[in-house]
Symmetry: C2
Subunit: 230 residues, 2 copies
DNA sequence: GCAAAAGTGTTGTGTCTACACCCATGT
DNA sequence: ACATGGGTGTAGACACAACACTTTTGC
């Protein structure tokens, strides 16, 4: 049972939902717990908040043990969970982050860590399952009104490659034709001028695009109730 | 200076950006600090996280000292700030909430507490100014794609009354005509059938509306990249 | 030539803004 | 009557979805 000092000061943990599109599916980075509580369950990467920095520097440090942090194209705070019953052994707060890894990197992982499809998660420890799903929802919403796509897509790509990334992340069909028109109209995508040679099945070579910016920006100001132009 | 124990365990504070439209302006609830640090500066209501509950129950408890908590029509988590330099005297994390009070209540306040227009804030302690502005941004965004309006508006209202609330919160002109059409089309507003008598200047009596639901709901699914119908 | 993949043109639809005009009330 | 504010009708702008059709490649 928790002792008096842990009642007065909760511990604080930082977690990350790290997502990548792999093999046409959206997957999350998880490690398998060997020790109680929740031995044998899978968990989000992270750990206790360490002194001297922010939550963000702390989660970056913890992630460095799992993946090369330079491969994280985007990192943002999700939410802080505080249910006193969320950890059975102590009073523990958890601040969760969302991290995104582009498809063109394949980080080497420690023994206990692997990718799991978000729509077929194993048994997760603590409240990590709702946190993971919240991360996916945040990603899905932001794919619609920001340029976060840059954080999942490789540095250059054809429209059908990008379409596959969006399909995996959003979980529904997306037309490459209309996706291109939308993202080019919003000035999110930029043609590189190159074309990509077709596969062995033939087909017209696709134009190669890149994201104009690799910093998060809102690209679809809400249509309604927006300030009048000028 | 901070001693060893405060280096190992940060303290944790819960804050609330409580907003209300008052006199045609969006105002935030602030209290004036009498003690260091930041004596003489204004601060967001809140206090140390207390044991046994969640962050949300804790901020409700702290707010109960300032306003009748039943007057809060909406409360949601904003973000957790963790810059080690954000509080000069100790290592302190802060989780901020956004609370909204409808215009038809006027809570009685303690001596040290008053409302301040968000676009003319006094000198605020700690990082409370960016937190307050983040709260306003969150509100503005959600006014556009959810029904949060219910948390600012009185229980029933004419369209020009509601327009005034939106104008104050959004900070730009809004047409009552179009606001009505948008919110009725989205089935957010419901006519009560009543009409409100005009003021002494005359004018046609306005139809009275209410929000169909007083629970947060997303009403404008993002137009683009949404799943196909059916 | 034929299949496969990419790209273009075009039409239709839904949602919003703007604005002119009409309605109901007080003085 | 007329000023004041509420309400309706309608036309236009825009962004998007859907789909037919065309282009470019491999075999």
């Amino acid at each position: 049972m928790a002792n008096t000092s842990t009642r007065l000061h909760p511990t604080h943990v930082v977690l990350a939902v790290v997502l990548q599109v792999r093999g046409g599916r959206l997957e999350a980075l998880l490690w398998e717990r060997r020790q109680d509580p929740f031995a044998g369950y899978w968990a989000l990467p992270g750990g206790y908040l360490d002194g001297g920095g922010t939550l963000e520097t702390s989660i970056r440090r913890h992630l460095a043990a799992k993946v090369d942090v330079r491969e994280l194209a985007h990192l943002e705070q999700l939410e802080t969970r505080s249910d006193p019953a969320r950890a059975p052994h102590e009073w523990q707060l958890a601040t969760a982050y969302l991290g995104l890894v582009p498809t063109d990197v394949n980080p080497s992982l420690p023994e206990d860590t692997t990718w799991h499809p978000v729509d077929k998660l194993p048994a997760l420890s603590f409240d990590h399952e709702p946190i993971t799903l919240a991360g996916r929802e945040r990603l899905r919403a932001k794919l619609s009104y920001t340029n976060v796509g840059f954080a999942l897509a490789p540095s250059t790509f054809t429209m059908s490659e990008l379409r596959d990334v969006y399909v995996a992340a959003l979980g529904h069909e997306v037309s490459a034709t209309n996706l291109q028109r939308v993202l080019v109209r919003r000035r999110v995508l930029q043609p590189t001028g190159e074309r990509r040679a077709p596969g062995r099945a033939g087909g017209r070579p696709g134009a190669v695009f890149r994201f104009r910016s690799r910093n998060l920006a809102i690209t679809d100001q809400f249509a309604v109730l927006r300030p009048p132009p000028r």
